[in-house]
Point group: C2
DNA sequence: ACACCTTAACTTGTTGCCAAGTTGCGCAGT
DNA sequence: ACTGCGCAACTTGGCAACAAGTTAAGGTGT
């Protein structure tokens, strides 16, 4: 981006952050900004399309460009033993979870390169979490079948992995690591999360052990849209 | 982005991630991709300039486009009482810290809107952290002057805030919150961190108390480039 | 045989032009 | 006075053409 584009980006970001998030706030047209800043129209377009990819703005051909309504982010507590479901239900009335995949993990899946996993057959339970009817997080549990054979019997009524494990005799949980990284989504996850190309995601990878039997229950991967959450550590 | 651009983005991202990070790996030219995928050149350019803004690729006019060398991310442990300096020194030989600002905080600074702070006069100590001579993190300590008046006497020899507090009688630290959010940089921080527009940052905000006296020592804000760190929780 | 210069063919950088959608105003008809 | 239609002026969407930098090959001169 050249200096003119950077200047315009900051100008529009200030406009967006200063605006009291009324629905349908209309931004200046491309030609208004061309005249106001005396720069080529293509540079205005470049900045506008960047803001669109960041999920801040949307356009309607022939009408104009508008600031997108942003939800107030919710708090996710990253430590402690409260399940994600409980965390969300305490902050919003409109939370739900949908089971999107439950199947054996193919032998060539990348998960098998993780050191702790080795070649133990795994069962994937994948859930999409919704807040105010918007997809907000993808929760993947890779369960070690030999340490929790009942996992093969789950069905679409599954509500919480915590409750599932407790039902089958696990009372004490332990985690040996939890790692957070920030990335951009791939296309599959972007469609699942219904977000724009440049909304970064936080990926949290951790494990979950039965502390009494000292066996690995699952390897966990959670993908959060970063525009919908603050993370309490 | 339309489907052709998304397809090309994924194609180039796969090329980048499959490449063994040799310096100066040259990517296909715009016209090679135009012919290979039978799409307009402007769409190829759109995708290439996006990858440039993400910090993955750089271009040289008349020569071509190249994959940027990426450093292997380091681990930052987000909990516990180890100072950032110690965390980094245990992982790399080439770490340094530079004091970039130390001054009273103006009365109209946004920091004074934080609930815990009220209107207590604050002193800002800002450090830029380097890894392998690249800026990697900005560390801001907003110190409560009345609870640590010695802060006004610091100079450019300051190495560690932990050591500073210990020198003035603080032996036991406590934190009441630590919040992580993901954002894009503003222009000032982008220049300090020497990164591209679309490298997201992690901002960690926390407080630090003298546990014995039960007084607030500082409000802390750390800004990390997300391409240089994994976060252990 | 080697070195230097020129030019063609490559590369990326910059911007305008045309297409298509929408809205609002003015005019005509009832 | 009201309603409906047409068109001008607005908006964004899509893409090609020209400018400028670099490199390598070929030809010429020593």
């Amino acid at each position: 981006m050249d200096k003119q584009e950077l200047m315009l980006k900051d100008y529009l970001l200030q406009t967006i952050s200063a605006t009291k998030f009324h629905i349908e706030y209309k931004l200046p047209s491309e030609y208004q900004l061309v005249e106001q800043f005396d720069i080529p129209r293509i540079k205005v377009r470049n900045v506008y399309t960047l803001l669109e990819k960041m999920g801040l703005v949307y356009s309607r051909k022939g009408v104009g460009r508008f600031i997108k309504h942003q939800q107030k982010p919710l708090d996710v507590v990253m430590t402690g033993n409260i399940s994600f479901s409980e965390k969300m239900k305490s902050q919003t009335a409109n939370y739900k979870s949908k089971l999107t995949k439950f199947e054996r993990v193919a032998q060539d899946h990348a998960i098998y390169t993780k050191a702790d996993i080795g070649q133990e057959p795994l069962y994937l339970v994948e859930r999409l979490r919704y807040i105010d009817d918007e997809p907000a997080a993808i929760h993947r549990s890779y369960v070690v079948i030999s340490n929790m054979p009942e996992i093969k019997k789950i069905d679409s009524r599954l509500v919480s992995m915590y409750q599932f494990y407790q039902r089958f005799g696990v009372n004490e949980f332990r985690s040996t690591f939890s790692q957070l990284s920030v990335q951009y989504v791939n296309e599959i996850e972007r469609e699942m999360l219904n977000c724009e190309v440049l909304v970064p995601i936080v990926k949290v990878e951790s494990d979950n052990w039965d502390a009494e039997r000292n066996v690995l229950l699952e390897y966990t991967e959670i993908i959060y849209r970063t525009d919908l959450f603050y993370f309490q550590i």
